[in-house]
Structures are given as C-alpha cells and as structure tokens.
Amino acid sequence: MIRRTGVFLALLTVFAVGAPLLAPYQAGEAFRGYLHAPPMRPHFDGLAPVVHPLVLADRLEQRFEPDRTRTLKMPWIERDTEAPVFLLGADDFGRDVLSRLLHGARTSIGLALFATLGAVLIGALAGAWAGYRGGWVDDAIMRVADFVLVLPVIYVVLVLRAVLPLVLPASTVFLLVSLIFVLVGWPFVAKGVRAIVAGESHREYVQAARSLGAGPIRILAVHLIPACGGHLLVQATLLLPAFILAEATLSFIGLGFPDPVASWGTMLAGAGNYNAVARFPWTLTPALAIFLVVLATNLLITRDARH
C-alpha cells in the first residue's frame, strides 16, 4: 500500500514537471482569428494523423467550419504559424486549450505538491514534538491544531488570501498561496503523527536507543518519524487533491494566479459564464482533469481500505 501510494505521488510529480514539454504551444500564445474555435478531429492520411484547418464561417455566431481541401500536420511534427491545430479547441483569447491544460498541470499540481510537502513536513515536526515532549507543549500544539481543524478550510484560505494584496505576480502568488495551504493543512498530518509518536515512544526500542545515549533529535529522526511513514503518505494523498481543488477555487474567483498564467483554476474562470459553458463545452476540460486526479486518489484509497 505504501509503495503504491509512493509510486502514485512520484508519477504525479513527473507529470507535473514534464507536462509543459508535451505542449505544442506556449501557455500565453493567442491566435486572434480563432476565439473559441472548436476541437479539430484528427484523421489519418496514410500513417500520419492530420487535421483540416478551421475557417471562420460566421463571425456573428463565431462558427467555424473545416476546410476540407487542406490538411495540417500535428503541431509536434510541423508547426504552421498561420493555421494552428487545436485538438481540444481554443479559449476566449484563441489560446490552445490542450497546451494550457498541460502548462496548467505544472502550475496546479506543482503548487499542490509543494504545499503538500510543506504541510507534511510542518505537520510531522509539530506532531512529533507534541507527542514526544508531552505536557504543555503537547496541549498547546494540539489545541491550535484542533481549532484549525474546526474551521471550514475554504473560508480560512479565502480570508487569508483576500487580505493580501489582490494583484500579485505569479511567483509571489505561488509562494503565498502554498504558505496559506500549509497553514490549513498541517493539523491533518500532526494529529496522526502525535498519536503514533506518543504511542511508540514508550516501546522498548525507543527506550533502548535512549539508554544508549541517543538524544531526542536522533530518536525522533531515526526511530519515531520513520514509524509514521505510512500515515504521512496517506495524508499526502488526501491533501493533494484538496489543494488542487483549493487552487482551482481561488483562481476561479479571481484570487489565484493572474490571467496569462495557465492553471486549471484560471482556465475554469473563463468558463464561469453559463452562456459560454453551453456553447463552448471544451473550455471545461480542466474540470475533467481535476475530476480524474481526484478519482485516481479515491481509487487508490478505497482499494487500500479494502485490503
């Protein structure tokens, strides 16, 4: 179970890092004549997949039709700067949805992974310290953790984000938002770690280590925190989709990344208008991507629960 969870997290990291390399276009690359262009359906010309380029058939209705006399190669093989290929359609600025989805994967999953790492780290340290020291340190840390756990996460994130300057550069948003996520995420990790450490610290192997002269830092780092490994991985898999969603929510309401940056949330913000949603359903693909990530974690967790 631990191994499968670890593999899943590693694969997700690789995907987040590598996805933009697969994108045929830049995240901000806009094709003026192709606002809300629909997805083009590839077909085979011999062995190579090709598409018919789109021509604007009706400017008022923003309706496109394929020009069947010409074909375009896939953008990975040959890029035609005049006639772009939109496999998942284009958004309201004429940007390729597929490319933005892949660039957005790095932003969204990357932010979630970074915040998860932070929350697990802080949670493990706080929980271990509370569990090992006991007494008033334990009481104080756990009271704070319980208090944070009572509050609805999204409101805490909302308030903390809204009181910061509303317009910020993307890298600052990345850091601040992940910091906020760490603040709301650490108690979930700390509670379990505290319970495990408090239980384990009376076991013989810990006493043996102590009688051999090991200090508290060595005991925690070498003996007690590794005992929490499984719990940490499970908490990481639970926090990750929650953070992806929280970023999407923040960006959706306009408090996340500024527009030219592609993230799954900023992409959905463009789809927030119900008229646009009905007419250009391909702008909802980031929602599908989020659904798939959440589904994957749920399958992983329910499978483990049954074994």
Binding site: P152, I154, L158, V159, A162, V163, L245, Y274, L284, V294
Partner: protein, 321 residues
C-alpha cells in the same frame, strides 16, 4: 450532561468571538481600505473626507472596542458597501445559505443512506454498481459538480442555470415564490449533495455490513424474523453511530462546499456576501459574516453531538467510546 453542554456552549462563544475578531483584525491590517477602493476619480482630499466620515481613520483599538461594545447587545455595525445594518443583510443571506444547506443535507441523506443499506447487505452486481457510483460521486467535488450541472442545465433547459429566484421574483405571491424557489434549488443542492451522498453511502455500507454479522442479528433471523425486518430493525440502529458521527464533520464540508456552489450558480448566500465584503474591505460586514458562520458551525457540531448522545448512551455519560 449539563457540564458537557456548558463546555460546549463556552467553546461556541469562544469560536464566534475569536473568529470574528480575527477576521476584523485581518481585514483591518490588509493593504487598502474601503475608501481606497471607491471611485478612481476621487481626489486625495475627498478620499480623506470619506475616510473620516466613515470612521475609518480611527485607531484599530478604538474601532474594535466600539464594535465589541455594539456586538455585546447585537449591534454589529453598518455595512459600508450596502449602507444597511450588518445584522439585517447577514440574516437574509444566512437564511438563503441555510435553505441550500438543508436541502442538500436531506438530498444526501435520502440518496446515501438507502443505497448504503442496500450495498452493505447484498452481494453481486448490485453492490458493485453502487460502490462504483459512490467512488465516482466522491470524485465530483462541489466546484466540478456545479460546473457540470450548470453546463447540463444550460444545454437542456431542465433547470434554471443560476440564482435563487427568477428576476420577476419581487411581485410573486407566497406560493408562487415557493414554487419558483423549488425550481431553482435542485441544481446547487445536488452539486453539494453528490460527494456527501457518496460518503454517507460508503460509511453506511461498511457499518451495516459489520452490524449484520453481530450475533443478535443472526438470532433474530433464527427466530423467524424476515430478512428486511431483521436488517432494518436490528442491524440498522446499531450501525448508525459512525454514520451520525459523520454528520458533525459534514457541517464544515457543507460550509466550504456551499461557498463554491454559491459563486458558480449565483446563489445569494453568506459565502458570496463574505467574498464581496472581503474584496471591498467592508470591515464590519466581514466580521458579521464570520461571526454568523462560526455560530452556524458551533450550532451544527453541537446538534450532531446531541443526536449522537441521544443514540449512544456512552457519549451521554461522558464515557469514552
């Protein structure tokens, strides 16, 4: 029991106090104030005048103390954004959120519990289908669910796509207004209810599967009680504890979810009000929303605890379960 209630009450008061004070402080120290966000064409003197007339130039301590003094007899100040008392605006909006949350809760219960009882007591294809459905449902968080439902509604016209009532809602009779509301509420409520229903199904399924292995269930069958009756009258009540325990946790989920759903489907609830107030730096409105939210949260968890205590005598007597 009385001691238990008193500690819970004290905790609720503390929660409301800390949460509203903290949001007031945070909004106050945030860069930019209400006056700075008004009209770009104001001159510096006009802005300063506005600030003085609204009392925004007072020190935080004096502002906070006068707010606290007012709050002690339920005067939560005036909203800068709407120029109305915070308490009237907040109570209107809180009612809307409560309607949404209650409908969603009922919907989730009506879908999740029967399916859970079914999947926990049968085997074969039926169980697999319910289980697959609930894993899918768990993966549709309110943001995704509400976007998908808005898309569906906009495409098919089965439901109105947003809002709480139609725009002509002002001159309707009471019955018409209720009918109008009934047409608007299913979409946002369903978006909120789907993941909760899935969680309830999973919990109920596991709980009743465990309960139906208890000897007294087998004994009831041996006495000749038929299967349905033995499940519903003997196994189900025993399996309720983990399920009811989850209702207490769900209040927070309901709150977080309703914020997203309110934004996506334009439901005029507390979450959107707070968001607007935060953006406009409307100090007292933010604090009022936060206080109401905390009050709901405390009341919800208390209610869930009381129900749990009613069902399980171990909790009532203060014994650790």
């Amino acid at each position: 029991m009385r001691r238990y209630l008193l500690t819970r009450l004290a905790f609720a008061l503390l929660l409301v106090f800390v949460v509203s004070s903290a949001t007031l402080l945070l909004t106050r120290i945030a860069p930019g104030d209400y006056a700075a966000m008004q009209g770009v064409d104001l001159s510096a003197e006009q802005r300063a005048h506005l600030r003085t007339s609204l009392g925004l130039d007072r020190s935080f301590a004096s502002q906070y103390l006068s707010w606290l003094g007012g709050a002690a007899h339920f005067d939560f100040g005036d909203s800068l954004l709407y120029s109305r008392p915070v308490s009237t605006i907040v109570s209107e909006r809180a009612l809307n959120t409560a309607v949404l949350a209650i409908v969603a809760l009922l919907l989730a219960t009506a879908i999740g519990i029967p399916l859970g009882i079914y999947s926990g007591t049968t085997s074969g294809a039926g169980r697999s289908i319910v289980r697959a459905l609930s894993v899918l449902g768990l993966s549709v968080p309110p943001l995704i669910g509400s976007l998908a439902l808005v898309f569906l509604a906009a495409r098919t016209g089965w439901f109105p796509v947003g809002g709480m009532t139609s725009s002509a809602g002002t001159d309707l009779t009471w019955a018409q207004w209720l009918a109008d509301l009934a047409r608007h509420v299913p979409l946002p409520a369903l978006a909120l209810a789907i993941p909760m229903a899935a969680t309830l199904e999973r919990l109920q399924s596991q709980a009743i599967a465990a309960a139906s292995h208890e000897p007294f269930v087998a004994a009831s069958r041996a006495r000749g009680v038929d299967r349905a009756r033995s499940i519903l009258h003997h196994a189900w009540p025993v399996s309720l504890r983990p399920v009811l325990g989850f209702y207490g946790v769900m209040i927070g989920t309901l709150f977080s979810g309703s914020f997203v759903v309110e934004v996506v489907t334009s439901w005029p609830g507390l979450g959107r009000l707070m968001f607007d107030a935060l953006k406009a730096r409307d100090l007292f409105l933010v604090a009022g929303c936060a206080a109401t939210g905390a009050l709901f949260l405390a009341a919800g968890t208390l209610l869930a605890d009381l129900i749990l205590a009613y069902v399980d005598p171990r909790v009532r007597s203060g014994e650790r379960a």
